[in-house]
Amino acid sequence: MVDPRIGIIEERLKGINNIIAVSSGKGGVGKSLIASTLALTLARRDYKVGLFDLDFTSPSTHVILGVKGLQPKEEKGIIPPQVHGLRYMSIVYYSGEYASPLRGADISNALIELLAITRWNNLDFLIIDMPPGISDAILDIIRLIKRIKFLIVTTPSRLAFETVRKLTDLLSELGIPVIGAVENMKMKESQFIQQQVERRGITFLGEVRFDTMLEEAIGNVNKLSATQFGKKIQEIANILEP
């Protein structure tokens, strides 16, 4: 028995130049905010950008982008709708405002389905917002998207970095490119994370201060871009440009 969906995934992604997973291993470190803001920033610089929310059980990028009442177009598959200048795909188009309690095998299946039927066409960047954990979603994108690159998010906390380092060790063991690591929610001076990151041969992309204005900007992309957080992500985005 063969799953026919796997064989078409490469074909579906072939028009995309850079596929970047914003990932951490650790939860609540700012992956979704960074992935969304990064995607918006690149789209505003006239790149063709897609944003794919892979956190199927707890999607949140639609809240950050203020997306409501949208549905993808069906055309020999699914065409992600254009939102704020980017092509946006999320399970919320189908799960609506309800919970989707999924076990690992279901998460894999849903992921394969969406990769097999979504038509991204030509993109300069596809940014993927990853769920927390070093589990199904990470293993699947490593297995299914051979050209995947990671952008790692951590906080200053040793507790966050304890998990983050396990993810980067795993990626380096597999030879998967890591663009760099962002230290988010920085509150006081410390070199700890930067040193730890650089010791592992990973580029330190910069620190993002804890921004008390960020919560208010959620759901409003113009406000979001204007925050200190937004400005810092715009700086970090320079590194991704060709």
């Binding site: 063969v2 064989g7 020999k76 598959g77 097999a116 039927i117």
Partner: protein
């Protein structure tokens, strides 16, 4: 018409297998289609007939429907998924991503959403017959 996208997946995968196995021609492909995904067989067949690539020009696609059996992980109750019981929007969401069933369907005995899809989820290839 996401049947079209799935048909492309079938043709692409069968072609890849034919290439790998060194088949000159593919005579028959047996496809199973689970009822949970509610794939329109006519559309799937039409798409397959339009997409047939070189080695598949004489291929017969035999498609068989499989009923979707669900089993509650909490109380063990088993039941069969029936599209007719769904409202249209929900049925369509499940059509695109069958796992969405966990969002809208509950075990009728105990109310749990923690159920297993025993069989009949989506599309898979049962067998490929070729000429070497």
């Amino acid at each position: 018409m996401h049947e079209w996208a799935l048909a492309e997946a079938v043709v692409s995968t069968v072609s890849q297998i034919a290439e790998k196995e060194g088949l000159k021609e593919v005579a028959e492909v047996k496809i199973k289609v689970g009822e949970l995904q509610q794939i329109e067989l006519e559309i799937l067949e039409f798409a397959l007939s339009q997409l047939k690539a070189l080695k598949l020009k004489n291929t017969k696609f035999s498609i068989q429907k499989v009923r979707a059996e669900l089993k509650c992980r909490v109380c063990g109750h088993k039941w069969i998924f029936r599209k007719e019981k769904m409202n249209e929007e929900v049925a369509e969401a499940i059509h695109f991503i069958p796992e969405i069933a966990h969002t809208y369907i509950k075990c009728i005995k105990c109310g749990s959403r923690d159920f297993e899809i025993l069989e009949g989820r989506g599309i898979w290839l049962e067998s490929i017959k070729g000429v070497k």
